[in-house]
Amino acid sequence: MSQGSVMSSHNLSQQEVGQVISDDMVATAKKQRVQDFFFHRVTQAFSLLVLVALLGIILSLFINAWPTFERFGFHFLWHVEWDIINQDFGAAIAIVGTMASAGIALLLAVPLAFGVAVFLTETCPTWLRRPLGTSIELLAAVPSIIYGMFGLFVFAPLFADYLQVPLQNILGGMPLVGFLFGGATNGMGILAAGIVLAFMVLPFVAAVMRDVFEITPPILRESAYGLGCTTWEVVRQVVLPYTQKGVIGGIMLGLGRALGETMAVTFVIGNANRMPTSLFSPGTSIASVLANEFGEAEGLHFSTLFALGFLLFVITLVVLAMAKVMILRAEKAKGN
C-alpha cells in the first residue's frame, strides 16, 4: 500500500515535472529558434559582406576608370602609347609586359615544379621528404619585396654578365630568333622579371603538384609497376593523367600569382613605358605601372591607372575561368 501511494505520488510528481519540462522545453525551443534565426541572418550578413566588398571593389575600379574607357574605347586595349604630357594612353605595353613576364615565369616554373614534385613523391628517401618539402615551402614564405631586392641587387648584375652577354653572342645573330636577344644587357628586363617570378611561383605549383601526386591510389601505381613500367612511365602515364585536374589547378594558381605580382616585378622589369622589342628590353607590367605612378597621377592619368587595374582584374578572372573550362573539358574527355 505504501508502495502504491509512493508510486502514485511519484507518477503525479512526474506528470507535474513533465508539465514543467514541456513548458520549459517549448520556451527553450522558441528561444533557440529565435537565436538560430538571428545566427543564420548574422552569418548570412557576413558572407554577403564579403561579396559586397568584392563587388564594391569592381564597381569602384570601373567608376574611376570610366573617363579613360569613355575617351579611348576598346582602342585602349591595343593602343601602344603612354604619354602623360599629351594625355594619350594605351594599355598594350603594360598588357604585353604582364603576359610576357608571367608566361616566361610559367614556362620555367612548371617543369621545375613538376621535377620537384616527382622527386619529392617518387625518388626522395622518406626521411628527407619532410625537410626538403618544407624548404621548398619556405621559398613561398619569402616576401615578394625580398625577391625584388634580391633580383635587382644580386641577380640582375650576374644575369647580365653570365647569361645575357653569352646568350646575345650565341643566339643574337641567328635568323628569326635573334631579335629576341637584342638590346642592352644591363640585367633588367622582361626575361629577368620572368626568371625572378618563376622562383616565386615555383613553390606554389610544386606544393599543389606534390599534394595531388600523393593522393594517387597506391593500387594504380603498383599495378603499373607490376606490369613492368619504369618510374618515369608510372609518373607520366599513370600519376599525371590521374591528377590532371589538380595539376592544372596548381598551374593556374601560379599564373594568377604571377600576373598580379607587383613588387618583385617592379624591381627588375626596368619600368620603361615602351613596347618591349626583345626579351632583354626593359618593359613594364600592369602592376608595376600602378605601383610606380599612383603617387603623382591626376585627372585622366589617374583614371587610366584605374582602367589598367580593372583590366588586370579581368585578365585574372579570364585566366581562372579558362582553368575551369579546361578542367571541365578534361573531365569530359575522361568520361567518354
Partner: protein
C-alpha cells in the same frame, strides 16, 4: 617471347633521364632558396643591433637609428587585420558550410 633488350634499355634510360631532371629541379629550387637566405644574412647581420628595435628611422644622411617605427607599424597593421578579418571569415565560413549550398 624474347625480350627486346634495346627497347628495355631505351625505357630505362628515359626513366633515368627523367629522374635526373627531377633531381636537378629540386637542386635548383634549393640552391635559389639557400642563395636568397645567404644574401639576406650576409648583408643583413651586420645591421642587427639593439638600436634596430629601440630607435626610429633617422633622417637621410644621419648615422645610427633603427626600424622601431616600421616594426611597430607592421605589428599594428597585422593586429588590425586579424581583428577585422577573423570574425568576418569565421562567420562567413559558418554560413557557407551550414546554410549555403
Amino acid at each position: 617471347m624474347e625480350m627486346n633488350k634495346q627497347l628495355y634499355m631505351k625505357r630505362r634510360i628515359i626513366s633515368l633521364l627523367g629522374l635526373a631532371f627531377s633531381m636537378a629541379a629540386m637542386a635548383v629550387g634549393l640552391a635559389v632558396l639557400l642563395w636568397i637566405l645567404y644574401v639576406l644574412f650576409a648583408n643583413g647581420l651586420s645591421a642587427l643591433d639593439s638600436n634596430l628595435l629601440t630607435s626610429d628611422t633617422p633622417a637621410p644622411g644621419t648615422e645610427g637609428g633603427g626600424l622601431r617605427n616600421a616594426i611597430v607599424g607592421s605589428l599594428m597593421i597585422v593586429g588590425l587585420t586579424v581583428l577585422v578579418s577573423t570574425p568576418v571569415g569565421i562567420l562567413a565560413g559558418i554560413y557557407l558550410t551550414e546554410y549555403g549550398d
